[in-house]
Structures are given as structure tokens and as C-alpha cells.
Symmetry: C2
Subunit: 282 residues, 2 copies
């Protein structure tokens, strides 16, 4: 089948590569707002050709939207106006409730399968695309009962081909869950980077000491604001809930130290250790 | 030379292995408060024999203290009473100001070289010891002007043999720096684990979604409270300073979301991105 990928960056580019390698796509057409990105994607062999949205969509069986979630909300209605009742649209955005709302009233709602593959790195752009991405990770398909059966089947085939484990949930639940297991980690990491950069502005020596623990905690702080500001904006209320809870948890550690209550500090850490069983499950 | 390692866990065990492999130790004697750990260390070949502190110290050229920092404060004066003016003591604890104070008045102060190798994992105990640890990481030697020249030289040789880059600083500066680049990462990670565990107690599905970003941020939350409570206790004031700053940074993100000030949110993330240059330096 012919696949159009809109937004040929980390996710779109890696998906384009994977679909070619798995024999799911006979041809991949790239669409990108940045001419520079489009040319780079072509040069890297992520896509077979690049063109405009208007030219790409009518030739395609599957249209994958892999742009930042803010842009996705604007583009999705445009793409819906360009398709027939046979083509399938799938988006891969990190928030799903806004997407659900923007397509709710379209007569072609059933052609859209909203998804969220749980894979990524802290890098972005076509150069960040890699071979073998997505395999053995989970992907979410949202509100499947609102998708046409053939559209759902096609998207399930795509994710099966990528080696992903499909989890089904509604858009609202998805957005709560990702606030916990993705969005808050990013905020924590950004804030931690700013804490260190702020206080140690004058000190150079410190960074010689930064070891593996520091690196793994602040790795996400390298993530691109053009991707993350729209995500936080879309998922504002859930993220605020989790952020408030996280600040409350940090205050417990603070209170332990202030009051020198080391028994409770021990308890807090023992409780945190239970995350082991969660991580080991994946 | 004959080396006694007191505390044959992750750090002590890995150091025992490395010193044997690098030909620095002809014999390693293990001392551990836990009989179980001592037997395991012997079984794993981390040490050649296990015995008591009183028997081990007199036979050794170098005594390495690799116990949690609280225990180290108690053991160090005992070891100082057991040595002659020729033996060398080196500790590897994560906080240094308390150590400096506890040895300050000893007539054999010069025999002690306080150090902190910046290597570790979230695991603990003799089974956590690994081959090839420490290489290409930084290690700190504190207050070197208070060490006897031959003692300092021996410890420098040990760290050079391990392939570590030596950074010299005083104990007070060390403790401020590690609050920023190690201790706060751990608190953040513990608090993040508790946030997720608290709110998602009833939900199982969420954990299927936990992806790489989450895992790297909460990895440190698996760390052992028996190691970390004493560290936070020793470095209480510095950790509180950094924790307050970190909570203030998180509040900036919270304010951006509450007020929907996405320009400032973009700025905060762009600033956090500067951590790249720090991480790439290591």
C-alpha cells in the first residue's frame, strides 16, 4: 500500500523506515512543513518522495499524522476533507482527548484511528529516525468502537508488523495515564536540569562529577520544547493534577529532613522501592 | 599488597574485584557485619577470606571502608585505633564533611584519605558487585593537604589503576556538589515513584504503558534506603537547599500551566535543554 507520513521526524521517520522494512508500505510519501526536514528525509531514504498534503493524500491508502499534537489538531480536519470513505488516517500523538474532540463531528470519523505508540527518544527531526524502533513496546489505540472495522484492522496490522503490543482504552483514560508515566517524568527532568543549571552557574567543577544516576534522571531534559509545550497544553489538567501530587510527595521528603524524621524517610524510600515490580513487569 | 575491604557490597565488592584484576591486591580480606554477605562475597570470589575487623586490619597495607556513611562514622575511629603509622585507610562514602570531622583530632589523621568514587548502580549487596566498575568515571579525593604524602600517593595509584579521573576538593565543597548532581536526583526519583504508586494504586493498565522515559527517570527509585537515609542525614542542609530550589523550579512549571503561559513554558524547557552541553562533556 501507499503510505503518506505527515511530519517526518523521530516518530514519522522511524515509522516510515519500519513500514518499508516490514513490507507494509510499497511507497512512502513524505509531507513536512519544513523544506529542510523534507529534503533531509528524502536524502536519508526515510521516504520515496516528498510533496504537498493536497497531492499526497489522494494517492494514499494510509495517512499517518506524526506532527506535534498542536499541529495535529489543525491538520486532522484538513486531511479529513481530502480523503474518501476508503482511506485510513492514523495519528500518533501523545495526547488523545483533544484529537477525539476535533474529529467527533466529522462524517468520516470512522476512518480515523487515534493511536499512541509508547516509544521515543529525547532527540527529534529526521536525523533522529532509527531502524528497529517500536518493537516490543506498547501502543495505545483509543476509542476503537468509533473506528470503521476495516480502518481498525489495517492499523492493528501496522502495529503488529512493527512488533508492538496493542492496548485499547478511551481517550480520556489515556490522557490521565500518560500524565503519570510520561508527562510528569519530563517536567521533573526539565525542572531538575534547571535546578542544577541555576545554582551551579558559576561552578564548573561540579559537572566533572555528574555520574550515571544524574544522567539518567536528566536525560529527558534534552527533549524538544516544540514537541512538549503542545503536549502539556493539551493535557494541562491531568498534568497539573499529577504535578501537584508530585510536589506534595517532594514536600514529604522535605519535611522528613527538616524534622529529622529518619524513620519516615526510610518508609518513604521503602515505598518508592516498590516501583521495582512495576519496572520489572515491562 | 594486602587489602582489607570493610563492607563487601556493590562498591566494596566491585573494588575488591578491580584491585585483584589490576594486580594491585595480592590478597583481599573481607569484613562485613552480615555473615550472610560475608559468605556470599567469599563464594563469589570477591575476597580471599573473611574475618573480623580486629584480625583483618593488622595484616593489611590498605583498609578500604565501603559501608553506609552512618556506619562509616562509627567504624572509622575504631579502625584508626587499630592501625600503625604505616597503614593507609581510605573511605568511599558519598558524604565527606562528617568524615572530616570525626577524624580531625586523631593523631593518625594523615593515614586517612577520604574519597568518593562517582560510580554506582541502584543495586546493593555482594551480588551487585561487577567486573570493570569505576573505569572512566571521576573520583573525588578530599582535603588532600591533610593526608600523609605516602598515603595520598597510594590512594592515587589505586584510583589510577581503576582508570578513574581524580578531582580534588575540600569536604564542604564536595558535599554541596553531590547534593546537586546525585542526592537530588535520588529524591526526585523516589518522589516520582511514590507519586505514580500513590495515584495509580487501583489501576493496573497504566504500567503496561510505562516506556523508556519513565524507566530512566525512576530507575534510581530502586535504590536501597539503608544506603540513602544516612547520606541524606549527613548531607541534610545541602540537600534541603537543593530540594527547596527544585520545588521552586517545579512551581514555575505549575504556574505556567495554571496561567496558560506557554511562552514562558517554552523558555523554561529551552533553558533545561542547556543540560545537553553538560551531559556531553562527561
Amino acid at each position: 500500500m501507499v503510505v503518506t507520513v505527515i511530519g517526518i521526524g523521530l516518530i514519522g521517520g522511524s515509522m516510515a523506515l519500519a513500514l518499508q522494512e516490514k513490507g507494509m508500505a510499497t511507497r512512502v510519501i513524505g509531507v513536512d512543513a519544513s523544506t529542510e526536514h523534507a529534503e533531509k528525509a528524502l536524502e536519508l531514504g526515510l521516504v520515496n518522495e516528498v510533496t504537498t498534503l493536497e497531492k499526497a493524500v489522494p494517492q494514499s491508502d494510509l495517512i499517518i499524522l506524526a506532527v506535534p499534537v498542536g499541529a495535529c489538531l489543525k491538520l486532522l480536519p484538513q486531511v479529513l476533507l481530502l480523503i474518501t470513505g476508503k482511506q485510513v488516517i492514523m495519528d500518533v500523538g501523545s495526547t488523545k482527548q483533544g484529537i477525539a474532540e476535533v474529529i467527533a463531528d466529522s462524517p468520516l470519523r470512522g476512518r480515523v484511528v487515534p493511536t499512541h505508540p509508547m516509544w521515543g527518544t529525547e532527540f527529534s527531526g529526521p536525523e533522529a529516525a532509527v531502524h528497529g524502533a517500536f518493537a516490543n513496546k506498547a501502543t495505545v489505540i483509543c476509542d476503537k468502537e468509533q473506528c470503521d472495522a476495516d480502518a481498525l484492522t489495517l492499523v492493528e496490522k501496522v502495529y503488529n508488523a512493527l512488533g508492538m503490543h496493542i492496548v485499547y482504552m478511551n481517550a480520556a483514560d489515556h490522557d490521565v495515564h500518560v500524565a503519570y508515566i510520561s508527562h510528569i517524568s519530563h517536567i521533573t527532568s526539565f525542572a531538575l536540569a534547571n535546578t542544577v543549571l541555576e545554582k551551579e552557574r558559576e561552578e564548573d567543577a561540579i559537572f566533572e562529577l555528574a555520574s550515571g544516576g544524574f544522567e539518567s534522571t536528566v536525560r529527558l531534559a534534552k527533549s524538544n520544547p516544540d514537541m512538549w509545550v503542545p503536549i502539556f497544553r493539551q493535557n494541562r489538567e491531568n498534568v497539573l493534577d499529577v504535578l501537584n501530587e508530585h510536589i506534595a510527595q517532594l514536600r514529604k521528603f522535605k519535611a522528613c529532613l527538616e524534622k529529622e524524621n529518619y524513620e519516615y524517610l526510610q518508609e518513604l524510600i521503602e515505598n518508592a522501592n516498590k516501583i521495582r515490580k512495576v519496572l520489572n513487569r515491562g
